[in-house]
Symmetry: C3
Subunit: 400 residues, 3 copies
């Protein structure tokens, strides 16, 4: 009854040729992952989605837990993580820090071990403070390593970055999968122009990890990436250095400008999005560590005043008209601040967003599959074999 | 080892004769559902309970998610939704709105799509404000429709009403299944007298959806339904119109009275329950939309004063004595406000409630099966075939 | 591909010789359980862990729910309960009391029935107030009994104590399993000396259930148990009486001292841990019931002052030097208050804790298996048969 498309089998076979060596490892920053791993994740996400669209189960775990720790609000990524775990057969469990003691030093190490005993993956969002999120994730990873080496843990769970201060890999990989689908494959991205630009939002404090993740990943694909932002809205060094390095290696390019118009001109893809000023984010971390509440309030006031000076950084029809054939692909990680809809004045005009809206939903729809693919690459030695077995004897995912 | 009762197979076969056409649809208001669908849900709930009592698994989903959105407190319905999903093999996930942005306009549409990617059902409780709950559910339904038509969603999840401002279908259908069991089948309800009456509670603001759901559903069964309430406690038009229409079609009747005694006289079934005054609920919605907190407080004070005038609307032994043979079936959706137990003066006297208590637990026990049956009718084209397969090769639900 | 160790089969066979008679019962206090049941739980936990380390699934439930009620903060036990349920195939659901009405009298009875319809186990933590936790659990147990006898519930869920005011059986049994592993089996514990001693912590109000559970359980094993605490920090009678009774029966001993040094001298095992003063805990319950907030604040101030007089009750290198060969096993239920790490001055010095740290993680690692073993003993008539079937036809728990 359940028919498996020959293309699916072919893709599974191709996946089998990619040796990532990441089994029992973590997935924290795309720029620390090999090209093979990046390719594996994209292809595996495609394979998993094909299974779902064929109505075939991809349950490879009989039991097991995916634990999530969200140190910031989340709808999309929280759902995507849980959907990804469920797709493979894992139950999920969220560590509520308000009802636990996980925080600093000793206790991070301890609590990480305590939630790892029968756990396959620990997914973490910690994106609020520069210099903290990635560090927290590496602490968790070091702890499960230690307990695994000591034989306390039967298996070492993977630590997966669901957004930190440096990178948002599940977002940027979903974005990349969207790009590949729109343009006709990863190879078709070579030479295409992408404008990753800052845009105005009334809430000035958004994480830097989305633009950082995008420039560091898309430059690997041979794209010509332009980063645009007002002065003061620079990004941290590591992903920018990676972007330069990858651009050189891939035959793409990477440059920075302080003009949104410049970035949009002849772009094939535009990604206009608000983020916080770097210096402010750094000072915020310092003030927070010293418990300086008055300082934090003053900083916020100052930041909002600065931010308000750049209200003209809005993705309008006029700007879109300057892109390639006036028809660049508009991207956003959602939710977007749409002028006249979710705020008076925001990142994008109503008319631009409304045309692109369903496309941004499609972009978001890849995230559960990307996360599931990351689970495959970090948990399985022979993912392709297991997937081939699923295709050979297909079990329905849902009733008919 | 697992024995399947021949009656179960017979019931499954009967289910196969009911063509509801609701696959991939929603379940929002009983009065918009066909008689066939109503019958299917009741019969399927019976079949599922028989499976459970035989210790046989009804897991039809291998993986998949049921997402719930609760905009009001809930113990019973929340549990029932999760138990129903688990019974069929779905994992559940609750959207916590405090940690997301789902609210009005644009964002409802967007968030609905974001939580639908690998979701089979979205169960929603939104019963706090007249004119809002049902509207919210239709917005969610329209959004998943749009994303499904655009190909973003591989499947369109069902939207299921777990209580809105108009109806509480999972409650009224559980109530109906209880009635059918007590009286010996749906046909035996024809001609029976049911008193759906207001009763006093110190908390005046309970939703109108339970009485609305009950009068609109029981009139379909040929019952003689009397609605009783003090002046000011009217219900909204749509379910009342439906009740009149259904009563005419079924050979039952529907009338309203302002006397609890009148309603109880010769009743076979009584359902005494507090609800809020209609005009107050309407004004509350207006005040809330305009953010008028002082107005809301004044309204509440006024409503409590009015409410206190009707303390004598209590289901007592004396009133029960006026029902058919003094032995009417007492029904309640729970928790009841029991005089001298959970409050000084409430909906029902301690002695009446204590006699009926286990019966009300039984009434509540049908809800998980009703919700699971609604999942079958909205998700499966051939539920009877799938259930027959489960019966033909029974798998234990739990160890022995 | 999956190899089953012959030892595992042998252990399963041994399990089959233990007739506990606890199927459909509860697990509330270890001192009310038979020796056979205690032995079964320990052996079954060992068997389950062997399955996990062999990568073999122990999913015995096809569907079903484990409901938890946490009336106190919890990381470890909450995780352990969910992991245990998942290990056997149950989905979990937490009753959030803030969004429900479960509290006193009538409503406990009712809500217990409402969350039991398709539930296999109700796990409860209620350890905050002396005289309340165990009582609450017995109320829940009585309610599901009543509903089961009345036929409302198809199955009667087990009530499992995840820590009450009297006992913390999942902790003490995990502790016992750790002891057996360290010393080479339960029989090797005979004659060993265990010091269960109070230790200073800046937070004075920790439950008494851990020391109570430890002394009541370890005395059964023929151990020489010494309980040490400052005056005022006595424990409640029931577990102390049990400890005396068990010590006599097992050939061990049980004594109390007010000197930490005395207890440590020649001990094979030390368990230094803070707990609250008994009289204060009793008064707290009275004040709370009468809603006396000022009284509670005064009580807390007084208790902290008293507590501060015993800062020298700290597990130091010097004290450890007095134990058997200076090398007693250090135990703790975690999180420990480590001097200079999580507080200025606490239960244990940094150097003692750091040496023992991974050992305490190992101690904690047994808890999910103990809880799962309690599920087996309370839910299954023939656990050994079911486990033997799993071993005969092993299914992978996770992909390779």
């Amino acid at each position: 009854m359940l028919a498996i498309d020959p293309v699916l089998n072919e893709r599974i076979a191709r996946l089998g040729t990619l040796d990532t060596g990441l089994c029992n490892g973590d997935f924290l920053l795309t720029w620390e992952q090999s090209d093979t791993t990046i390719r594996f994740v994209l292809e595996a996400a495609d394979v998993l989605e094909r299974f779902v669209r064929a109505g075939v189960s991809t349950r490879v775990f009989d039991t097991g837990l995916g634990v999530s720790i969200f140190r910031d609000k989340s709808t999309r990524t929280r759902y995507a993580f849980r959907a990804a775990c469920n797709l493979l057969g894992l139950a999920t469990e969220e560590l509520e820090e308000s009802s636990s003691q996980i925080s600093h030093g000793e206790t991070v190490r301890e609590t990480a071990a305590m939630i790892a005993f029968l756990t396959e993956v620990v997914g973490i969002r910690d994106d609020m403070f520069l210099g903290e999120g990635h560090e927290f994730m590496t602490e968790v990873a070091a702890s499960v390593d230690e307990s695994h080496r000591a034989g306390v843990l039967a298996r070492r769970p993977a630590v997966v970055n669901l957004q930190c201060d440096l990178d948002h890999p599940t977002q940027s990989l979903a974005d990349l999968r969207h790009l590949a689908n729109v343009f006709g494959g990863l190879d078709a991205l070579r030479g295409k122009r992408l404008a990753m630009t800052w845009a105005y939002s009334p809430s000035y404090g958004k994480p830097l990890s989305v633009p950082q993740g995008v420039v560091a990943l898309m430059t690997r694909m041979g794209m010509h990436v332009t980063l645009a932002h007002p002065p003061g809205y620079e990004l941290v060094d590591a992903p920018l250095d990676a972007a330069h390095r990858f651009a050189t290696a891939s035959g793409g390019s990477f440059r920075t400008t302080d003009s949104m118009t410049d970035a949009f001109t002849d772009a094939d893809v535009v990604y206009p999005k608000s983020w916080a000023p770097l210096a402010v984010m750094r000072e915020r971390t310092v003030l927070r560590r010293s418990g300086n509440r008055a300082g934090l309030a003053a900083l916020e006031e100052h930041a909002l005043a600065t931010n308000a000076r750049f209200k003209d950084w809005e993705c309008t029809d006029e700007l879109m008209g300057r892109t390639r054939y006036g028809r660049a692909l508009y991207m956003h990680c959602l939710p977007a601040d749409v002028s006249g809809v979710s705020c008076a004045s925001g990142e994008v005009s109503r008319s631009v967003f409304e045309r692109a809206r369903l496309d941004t939903y499609r972009e978001a729809s890849y995230k559960p599959f990307i996360i599931a693919a990351i689970l495959l690459v970090t948990r399985m030695r022979n993912a392709a074999d297991a997937l081939a077995e699923l295709a050979a004897d297909p079990r329905p995912r849902h009733p008919d």
